[in-house]
Amino acid sequence: MSQEDVDIAEATEVALSNSVISTATSTLNQLKEIANLIETGAYAREVRRISRAIRSTIRLRKELKASVVSSFLNFALIPGSEVHTRLSSYLGKDDENDMEIDTATSTAQTPAKHPVPELEIYCYLLALIFLIDQKKYDEAKACSEASIARLKNLNRRTVDVLASRLYSFYSLCYEYTGDLAEIRGTLLALHRTATLRRDELGQETLLNLLLRNYLNYNLYDQAEKLRSKAPRFEAHSNQQFCRYLFYLGKIRTIQLEYTDAKESLLQAARKAPVAALGFRVICTKWAVIVRLLLGEIPERTAFMQRGMEKALRPYFELTNAVRIGDLELFRTVVEKFSSTFSSDGTNNLIVRLRHNVIRTALCNISIAYSRISLSDVGKKLRLDSPDPVADAEGILAKAIRDGAIDATLDRANGWMLSKETGDIYSTNEPQVAYNSRIAFCLNMHNEAVGALRFPPNSHKEKESAEKRRERHQQEQELAKHIAEEDDDDF
């Protein structure tokens, strides 16, 4: 599961790294700009600016060096203050010289005032990102613990954005060391606090982290209990919503609610940013299995999406086996790819699929033969059991009751008689299907209209040439941000 997240993050970096200038000083300058942005954001109480600051930071992620981070800390925090000493101790002192020079230059320009809390939290975040990238997980753990202790005393809406990112990284560094179970209590406490403070972004993030935490240990029961009782509201962040849908899909799959699961998983795969390949692959894998369990056969194009062919290969062969209804082939495929399936955690689901393979085979038989003896059915199904005739009889009887095949059994003669298939166009069925498709399209249109975003002040009509130019610039910037927001993560 961790792979999909790393993927989301990395994809973002790759997409953005082109625009980054790579010298240390310019990185520092950029960080200072970000600090400015945060300060203005904090004074003006504009959450948007803060989110923008975080996005710019993620872009700088690859450029961060110990020297840059520590000189930034010198700039942003009062040297010698408690936070400063603590954060510097985590970073270690490997670039003494470099740091001193920077200290000299930066102390001159540091305003001798107390930094705004947002900036302080931002310093924690920056240090944490740096530590995780350097794989110093123990320091990262200590750093995140300290930041969370600090966050408990802050109740400002502008901090929420920073806090939600901190929570994610907090959980991430515990996940890397395999100690997720340890922080469950803390996360639950944080979720409670976030709920009390009406910090919806925080709630959203923490709920996902908790679900991830439970699912990491296959605790589906607890995850579902938490999910169904946690307050729900309209999603604030697309990424968090995607994750939520994915976790929801997984839970529902395990609990055999395949129809709902399919919906959630497909939606998660569609909503995920294009760059987050790993996430989309894992969503598709689960969606394929759920559709197979529902008795649907996914189209070939689902397996041929760009960059996914190789990863989906085992699932493609599996689908093939189910489609043909060949138990022998199914068995070989499962054996051949068992390591893939167990690393994906889908092994138990695939065991459930055996039943669907039998069903498909029965359907094929009942279409092909108008009358067939039970022992032949047993042979065709290749049931490896001591008494195939009795097995076949039971299986057929159940399939008939469930409506999978339309036939009757004749026990005295030991054969199955298929009924003539009626003309489907003499029923209401086509009309119902047509209606549901139309309803789907209309609903999609309405949702699209509801989701349209408009630039501010677009209603003002007359404007001078200069103003128009300015407006154009603004619009472009806005468009860029929207695009960034779409594939930005962590």
Partner: protein, 267 residues
């Protein structure tokens, strides 16, 4: 040794003695006392405090709950089984790092799976299954339950019934008997749809009765709509879904109007 712990051990010894004597009434009484005593120990879930005798206390508590689960099977109390099992579960999931593996763990987990199967709680069955490691799935007790579920889903009921002969643990027999009842109902439901009619002999055999008399009683109680004529059992086939004779005009008008309304909004 802690006096409380000593007392607990003594009481538990008495419980075990009664248990081997099959004196289940005394057992139930003693068990209640034991459970009350267990609440006094801080090292047990949910507190999990690291006291001096923590491991010892956890082990004995686990042992008590394991016995409680088995006892509930013996006195055939499914609700008690569920309660005791949930109390036992934290010892397997959360305390596994501190305690040595219990030999009773897999039989009891398998028993629980079987219970969920009997009560037809398939979603919970699968949720529990996800918690088990691949090595646990290889264990005969667990495997037994998993294979039963598969046969049950497929409809191979005769395999379910023959599994009764190969139970991995004596406590399983109780649930297997319950399962046989469920299976009979399932077979009856399937046969009703799959056959037009059956000879009495075949029906007796199919529904696992030893004599025709039992079959007749069963029909009277569960399926009074079945008919017996000339030594054959005739099922009342449900009416075929009738083909659409008339046009559902009102529904069509409503739909068409709603399309028109939506289209107008778009244009």
């Amino acid at each position: 040794m802690d006096p409380n712990l000593t007392e607990l051990c003594q009481l538990f010894d008495r419980f075990k003695a009664a248990f081997t004597r099959h004196d289940y009434e005394t057992c139930s009484n003693l068990l209640t006392q034991l459970k009350v005593m267990l609440t006094g120990f801080k090292s047990l879930p949910p507190l999990f405090e690291n006291t001096k005798h923590a491991v010892q206390e956890l082990t004995i508590a686990r042992d008590i709950y394991e016995h409680a689960v088995v006892l509930s099977v013996k006195i055939e109390d499914q609700d008690a089984f569920e309660r005791d099992f949930f109390q036992l579960k934290p010892y397997y999931t959360d305390a596994c790092g501190r305690l040595p593996h219990s030999p009773q763990e897999y039989p009891i987990l398998g028993l629980n799976l079987l219970r969920l199967l009997v009560q037809n709680r398939i979603a919970e069955f699968h949720t529990e299954l996800e918690l088990l490691s691949s090595s646990a799935l290889e264990n005969p007790c667990i495997k037994h339950a998993v294979e039963l579920e598969q046969s049950f889903m497929e409809g191979a009921y005769n395999r379910v019934l023959s599994a009764r002969q190969s139970v991995p643990h004596e406590t399983y027999v109780y649930f297997m008997d319950l399962l046989a009842k469920t299976v009979r109902d399932e077979i009856a439901g399937c046969s009703e749809k799959a056959y037009d009619s059956l000879s009495i002999n075949d029906a007796t055999q199919l529904l696992l009765f030893s004599s025709d008399k039992e079959l007749h009683e069963y029909i009277k109680e569960e399926h009074p709509e079945w008919e017996v004529q000339n030594g054959r059992l005739i099922f009342q086939q449900a009416k075929e879904a009738a083909t659409c004779k008339e046009i559902p005009s009102l529904q069509l008008i409503n739909q068409t109007l709603s399309y028109a309304r939506e289209l107008e909004r778009i244009v």
